[in-house]
């Protein structure tokens, strides 16, 4: 585990009740594992992150401020290995704003990511989804980085 990951998890440990910690912690680890190559490519990963749990075939949306001139990656992780998850980015008018998105299975879970180069400064919608999962509720976490 990288020092960066350890630090984030230490912060999360203070935040979360034990039960939630055990699962969102693992999902965050998956998101950060997906982020790792991009950190090496110069992306600064924020300490703040989002997390929760969702039944299969449901989505959640997050409104987030982005700045024109930056490039952003959003990395979603889940500790449920058999789940299928996704993250997509839309502008305030509801148009798909990302330039690429992918999903990738990991050794101990799942990851998905989306990259956006904002055409304007302002609010954007981050849509996370658990497309399918064998679990009743699937924990997820979403981290982001910029450069």
């Amino acid at each position: 585990m990288t020092r960066f990951t350890t630090s984030i998890l230490a912060a999360a440990a203070v935040l979360l009740p034990t039960q939630a910690f055990a699962t969102i912690d693992d999902s965050l680890s998956m998101a950060l594992e997906a982020a790792d190559p991009f950190v090496k490519a110069g992306f600064s990963v924020r300490e703040d992150y989002w997390g929760g749990d969702l039944p299969a075939k449901t989505t959640k949306a997050i409104v987030h401020q982005l700045f024109k001139g930056n490039e952003y990656w959003f990395w979603m992780g889940s500790d449920v290995k058999a789940a299928k998850i996704s993250v997509h980015i839309y502008d305030t008018e509801g148009n798909l704003a990302e330039v690429e998105a992918w999903t990738k299975p990991l050794k101990d879970g799942q990851s998905a990511a989306a990259r956006v180069v904002p055409k304007k400064t302002g609010s954007y919608y981050l849509i996370v989804e658990v497309e399918k999962s064998p679990e009743e509720r699937t924990h997820w976490a979403l981290a982001y980085g910029f450069k």
């Binding site: 630090s7 009740p17 969102i24 989002w50 949306a61 497309e131």
Partner: protein, 268 residues
Amino acid sequence: MKYLVAVPIAFAAASLAIGETPQKIDVSSFPSQAKLIDTVVVPVPSEIFGALDRVSRVHWDQVLRATKDQAVGESQSQIALQLGLIIAEGFIAVQAQNTAEVKNIGGTVRKLSKALGVEKHVTEHANAILKSADAKDWITVRKELDRTLQNVRTAMLDLGSEPLSQLISLGGWLRGTEALTDVVGKDYTPESAELLHQPILLDFFHKRLASMPATIKKNPVIDDMQKGMLEIRPLVGVADGTQISERSVKDVNLVATRLVKSINAKIN
């Protein structure tokens, strides 16, 4: 869930077709805007400064403010706002690549954190800031400043002081906004002014200030912050794509400067 407060958590949204990525979604089916802003993640100053550096040649050393011998505020609210200010100053010092000032800021962060009773949560990061500043490892300094911000806010939440956690964020945002408007105001371009278009952040802070406990709201500094947010909101909260004028940039700078002074009032 308790951690909904601690970690920015998403909210229910419109359903999407499974297995495909729609090119367009109906954002009007989201919950009300008032509900959306509850979950806003406040950007760190370097996120904005980096974007500004791409459209303007910035002399960050002229924006940087000396912080040595920073006095500690009288109330916890004031100290929380001060801590936000000083961490934002740290990001400016990194942009200016000023080793001495970064080290001063590392020490001041420890002092203010101690006054808030959360020093143990920042010691490791403050030490890393000092060490990395000596090595001129600016990427690590930025990372440690973000970790400091997160850890202090987390510690405040752990102590049941969510309002103080929000005031730390507000202080950081204010100093970042003051610096941004200072730079943009001196070399205005519509492109650089666009970075001020942050309506969800203004709404977020305004709502947070309005919902603070009476014991905190009675502090005149908090009253100043509330009034200031209302003044700034119409200047930068214009519709997407609408140009923010040079006059508006300067007006926001006047308000932000006044609020920063208000935070440091009675202690300088």
